[in-house]
């Protein structure tokens, strides 16, 4: 059943913004995981009553004997996944990002990361993607998760990258936290794009004036904004940083050095996420450039439609464009 987007109200959970003129893929995470499960019998999957809302049901439908819904019990989800990992399985598990990070944090740190357990957490609706207000918005998830040692953190841009990430994480040793995109996920990156764990990728070549460093779906927004900026005579370069931890310091410094000024864009608070990592790296290396951070101020955020929230809190397309063109 298709639903018509309603712009003035909070919508059902998990709807991504439907961008009229963009190609989308339905549930790329679950379909890719189901396919991977065919090839690798050691893969198992779990959810905490968020199967439908995390797109994992294609795996359940194909591999019902390797799938468990533990109920709405996020700490137990992570612990059970860790147990499976410790007897040789690769455990993919899902719930909303906010409940992985805030509720199950200690379990991720100790049951999983500390033992390098093969648990691959796909965390739904990261950042400001949920219209249900502060209880559902993981606006500090990168900040929290980067504080955990031996944890890999990935924030994919689009359906193309997410599919590759589903496969890649199976071979990344230890625990991985992935910011999940679900529903009708847009395609932003070209077919030729290749996700390499731990590596940032230059996805747009500019003239060296303005450089955008972005992660997650904000890279899609940055690509749109950079295209729009050409109308104002600005030719911005874009460095997409899908792996937040370990951080590709080298690529970031090289990119920063090659641009006069920088914009960092992320679906996260301005503190503790990508912008903090970028500026830390630059400062440490003595690479100093003006940086505009596009992200959320500190605070709790309200309920509402995605468009409303993004515009109100300054992470929408016009905001990125203004940072690129006007440098404010």
């Amino acid at each position: 059943m298709t639903s018509t987007p309603v712009f003035g109200q909070t919508r059902g959970m998990g709807e991504l913004i439907e961008v009229a003129d963009k190609e989308t893929v339905l549930a790329p995470f679950g379909t890719e995981l189901a396919a991977l499960g065919r090839e690798r019998p050691e893969i198992v999957a779990l959810t905490a009553d968020m199967g439908r809302y995390s797109d994992i049901l294609p795996f359940r439908d194909e591999h019902p004997d390797r799938f468990w819904n533990v109920g709405m019990a996020e700490q137990n989800l992570i612990a059970t996944s860790a147990g499976l990992a410790k007897v040789g399985k690769i455990a993919y598990c899902t719930t909303y990002s906010v409940f992985v990070t805030r509720r199950a944090y200690d379990f991720v740190a100790i049951a999983c990361a500390h033992s390098m357990a093969n648990v691959k957490i796909f965390a739904g609706m990261p950042g400001l993607m949920n219209g249900y207000g502060a209880t559902h918005q993981a606006t500090e998830d990168l900040n929290m998760m980067r504080g955990i040692a031996d944890l890999t953190i990935i924030d994919p841009c689009d359906a193309t990258e997410l599919r590759q990430v589903v496969r890649a994480v199976a071979d990344i040793p230890g625990t991985v936290y992935v910011r999940l995109l679900r529903g009708h996920v847009p395609v932003e990156l070209p077919d030729s794009y290749e996700f390499i764990p731990g590596r940032a990728a230059r996805v747009r070549q500019g003239d060296g004036s303005v450089g955008v460093i972005s992660t997650g779906y904000m890279t899609g927004r940055a690509l749109d904004a950079a295209q729009a900026a050409t109308g104002s005579g600005v030719d911005a370069g874009i460095l997409h940083v899908p792996t937040i931890k370990p951080f590709d310091t080298e690529a970031v410094l090289e990119f920063a050095s090659a641009h006069d000024r920088l914009v960092v864009a992320e679906n996260h608070k301005k503190t503790g996420g990508l912008a903090t990592l970028v500026t830390e790296a630059m400062f440490d290396a003595g690479v100093l450039r003006p940086v505009i951070r596009v992200g959320l101020e500190d605070g709790f955020f309200e309920c509402g439609s995605q468009e409303y929230l993004e515009a109100k809190y300054g992470v929408d397309l016009p905001r990125v464009l203004r940072a690129i063109v006007d440098g404010v």
């Binding site: 109200q9 909070t10 439908r52 109920g71 019990a73 249900y132 309200e302 409303y308």
Partner: protein, 280 residues
Amino acid sequence: MPATLTSPPGTADVAALKDRAHELRRLQMTMTRGKGEGYIAQGLGIADTLAALYFHELRHDPADPDWPDRDRFLLSTGHYSIAMYAVLAAAGYLDEDELPTYGLNGSRLPMSTFDITPGIEVVGGSLGQCLGQAVGMALGLRLDGSPARVFCEFSDGELDEGSTWEALMGGATFGVDNLVALVDCNGIQADGPVTVAIEPVADKLTAFGWDTREVDGNDMQALTDALAASRERDGRPKAIVLRTTPGSGIPSIVARPRAHFIRVTDDEWAGFMDELEANR
């Protein structure tokens, strides 16, 4: 400061309370009008409980929402907000005219409850957080010698959360008999029917030290009787397991296979209203 607003035990006017519950259902349906979606099934299911609480059991004063000795009602299951706003309007905490803003951008009546709304005591929605707070409130009120009691609704899905069981043990340990837990067992959660082995709920709560009753949560007589019995102050916290029917009052919604989040077209809406009136 108002004197007790509670009706003495045995005085519940069941017919009048049923009318109130019907009114709450009607208000909720008007809130979904034109929006096409919402948590209406749960809201219809819990309507009788809220009517029994706000128009019979709770000592509260809509003119003075901060009255220190008011009974506290905590709605843990934040997505039941639609039912809460209906009862808050019917009781006089909110203006009925505000109800159509439910879920709209900038509204004081968001899809999931926050304590920005008059009459809402706690932030719900991050499920499994309220029973522990209810235990804390009950302890604090008892310490102050307040006659106030605390009523905390939570859902069968919230029985999946470890924090709920931690709070249950805490409540029993501290003997908070000024606390009544209202466990809405509607049989569903986000992914469909409840599949985790939570049953037998009432036996478990009893084993955990709670003075427990189990009722049909859509039977007003049974509800008011259970609430009256839960007034006893014998050193044990009270629990009422409510067996509710998602969509109660509108058979076509009851019949929906997936009731957690419902989409309603404008055509269906009119038919549902007719059913609601016919089932009065």
